[in-house]
């Protein structure tokens, strides 16, 4: 399968038809989507019309842009004007946004072809895509296992070749963990790197949109397109970003790669072995390995599961049966709110709204939410110190390879522990990405996480490219 860079180059120089590229992907969708269920909506007609329009542009001598004819899968929590956006929730079923998210506008301007809206854990709350109101997504590597989550639909779509690239959102690991479990590249950029305008809010101080791709280079290309300041998002960073595609060949000679000596335990042996081999690969490529400490790393889970639900309880107050989505009729507004929300939200969303409302309520605020914000500062400051000694850090992306459906049972905490290695970067705002690095138990993919300092995406991508080169050198001796 051609990567996004190759597709765009071919479409732009006329050697490849965008229409043919779309048909190839629709054919793969027709063959395997019934089994995988990556999509809430496949946009066949729109994608065909769009690819014809792109081919017409090229024929007329115009340049459709850096993603010309590239089929992309969008997580179904990004607003698409006039096209249903559900967040995999009954409460938003049928809703058609009256505007496009900024990333959607940018993708259109770059010539991309949206091929469908992908499944997720309801409102992005989960690590397995089992919490979708429309049924789970299956892992293309083993359909008895989860694809990870919450961006499981986009990760599975890219992994199965339903789309050349995908976009997910990452609040506590929701891009990086499914990327690891599906064997693709997944990036959570620095907080503020990509506009959140039109991303349905889960936890506003943690949410970031990012790429899911089959190669580091495609992730760089996609992030170059969607990144940048947006006046519509007051938390978007008002700085120009250097091109990430341009830095990939710079290598890692002299780069300082940090090993967190007090990383929380709990990762499976196969995952730890691969992570060790990633350090070896970096050393072999000319990097220096240094030890760093992040003692508060281990408290990330607690801080996250107080802060994220607190913000979610506030953000999800808008689903009240008044302006959009589901309404359960009742004699007065209070009864309508309560019944609408009880009928429209799934169990995990209700649980987090309850936890967040509790953590914010009078008498408990200081003990929970207030304390969690202080732990967040500790984690942030400790990472800042670590990045004075190391350019990037390596950890596992997920404690295990893809697990079977129902493996976490009814124990919410067991599911929350899936994100133990990814959560701290959301709290601190630093970037992180998962890179496929071989396989573990049952030949399932393992992802290694590369972490870097604020706006240090260039270093992070150089390290990721080095890991990718090490893997392909092994696969093709």
């Amino acid at each position: 399968m051609a990567g996004a860079i190759e597709i765009a180059a071919g479409v732009r120089d006329g050697s490849l038809k965008a229409a043919d590229v779309v048909e190839q992907h629709l054919t793969r969708i027709a063959a395997r989507e019934p089994e995988i269920h990556a999509f809430n909506l496949v946009m066949s007609d729109e994608a065909r019309a769009r690819s014809d329009a792109i081919d017409a542009m090229v024929a007329a001598g115009d340049d459709p842009g850096p993603l010309a004819g590239v089929p992309i899968a969008l997580k179904d929590n990004m607003c698409t004007h006039g096209v249903p956006t559900t967040c995999s929730s009954k409460i938003l079923a049928g809703w058609k946004p009256p505007y496009d998210a900024t990333v959607v506008t940018k993708l259109a301007a770059a010539g991309a072809v949206i091929i469908g809206k992908t499944n997720l854990d309801e409102f992005a709350m989960g690590s397995s895509t089992e919490n979708s109101a429309f049924g789970p997504t299956r892992n293309p590597h083993d359909t008895s296992r989860v694809p990870g989550g919450s961006s499981g639909g986009s990760a599975a779509a890219v992994s199965a070749g339903f789309a050349s690239v995908g976009l997910g959102s990452d609040t506590g690991g929701s891009i990086r963990q499914p990327a690891a479990l599906c064997g693709v590249v997944g990036v959570k950029p620095t907080y503020g790197y990509v506009s959140r305008y039109g991303l349905v809010a889960f936890a506003s101080s943690l949410d970031q949109i990012g790429p899911l791709t089959t190669s580091v280079k495609d992730a760089a290309l996609l992030l170059d397109v969607i990144g940048g300041h947006d006046p519509m998002d007051s938390t978007s960073i008002p700085l120009a970003h250097p091109s990430l595609v341009d830095v990939l060949d710079q290598g890692v000679e002299g780069m300082r790669v940090g090993r967190i000596t007090d990383l929380p335990e709990g990762a499976d042996l196969d995952v730890m072995e691969r992570t060790e081999q990633a350090f070896d690969a970096m050393r072999a490529a000319g990097a220096t390995i240094v030890d760093v400490e992040v003692p508060a790393f281990t408290f990330g889970l607690t801080a996250y599961y107080l802060i994220a639900p607190a913000e979610a309880s506030s953000n999800l107050a808008r689903y009240d049966g008044v302006r959009y989505g589901l309404r359960v009729e009742a004699p007065d507004t209070n009864a309508m709110y309560g019944l609408t929300r009880a009928a429209g939200f799934g169990d995990e969303v209700k649980r987090r709204i309850m936890l967040g409302t509790y953590a914010l309520s009078a008498g408990y605020y200081d003990a929970y939410y207030g304390k969690a914000l202080k732990v967040r500062r500790l984690i942030h400051d400790e990472f800042e110190r670590a990045y004075q000694h190391a350019d990037v850090l390596l950890t596992p992306a997920s404690p295990s390879v893809a697990f079977p459906f129902g493996a976490k049972g009814d124990n919410p905490l067991a599911m929350y522990l899936c994100d133990v290695y990814t959560i701290p970067a959301n709290l601190s705002g630093h970037p992180g990405m998962s890179v496929p690095f071989g396989t573990g138990a049952d030949d399932l993919p393992v992802g290694v996480q590369v972490l870097a300092g604020t706006l240090c995406e260039p270093q992070m991508f150089r390290a990721a490219a080095a890991l990718e080169r090490a893997v392909s050198a092994k696969v093709q001796p």
Binding site: P98, Y191, I237, Y305, V322, G325, D332, I353, K374, R377
Partner: protein, 100 residues
């Protein structure tokens, strides 16, 4: 394990959150929140008196924009998505009435 949260508190929180939970859901939520809060006690031992809270990662101050007229959302399109609308407005049941 001592209960960290009572069913009465969970019922009150459900009212605050505008979630009409069933008695079974209240019972299950009480047990699950209790278990989570037990786990979250790991931060109780941290010395945090001198640590400033951090609500968001990027140290942005107030963000201003020029006061220029811009295109807003289309009113009819927005209202078309509402469960009920009338005379260019959202329609809701009486605000004063039976309390939950």
């Amino acid at each position: 394990m001592s209960e960290r949260i009572s069913a009465a508190v969970v019922e009150k929180v459900a009212r605050l959150a505008r979630l009409a939970l069933t008695p079974e859901e209240i019972e299950r939520t009480t047990a699950q929140l209790s278990g989570m809060l037990e786990h979250f006690a790991d931060i109780d031992a941290l010395q945090l008196d001198d640590v400033a809270p951090m609500a968001q990662p990027y140290p942005l101050e107030n963000v201003f924009r020029d006061d220029v007229v811009a295109q807003g959302l289309d009113r009819d399109e927005v209202l078309a998505a509402a469960p009920a609308a009338e005379h260019g407005r959202f329609r809701v049941p009486p605000i004063i009435g039976l309390d939950l």
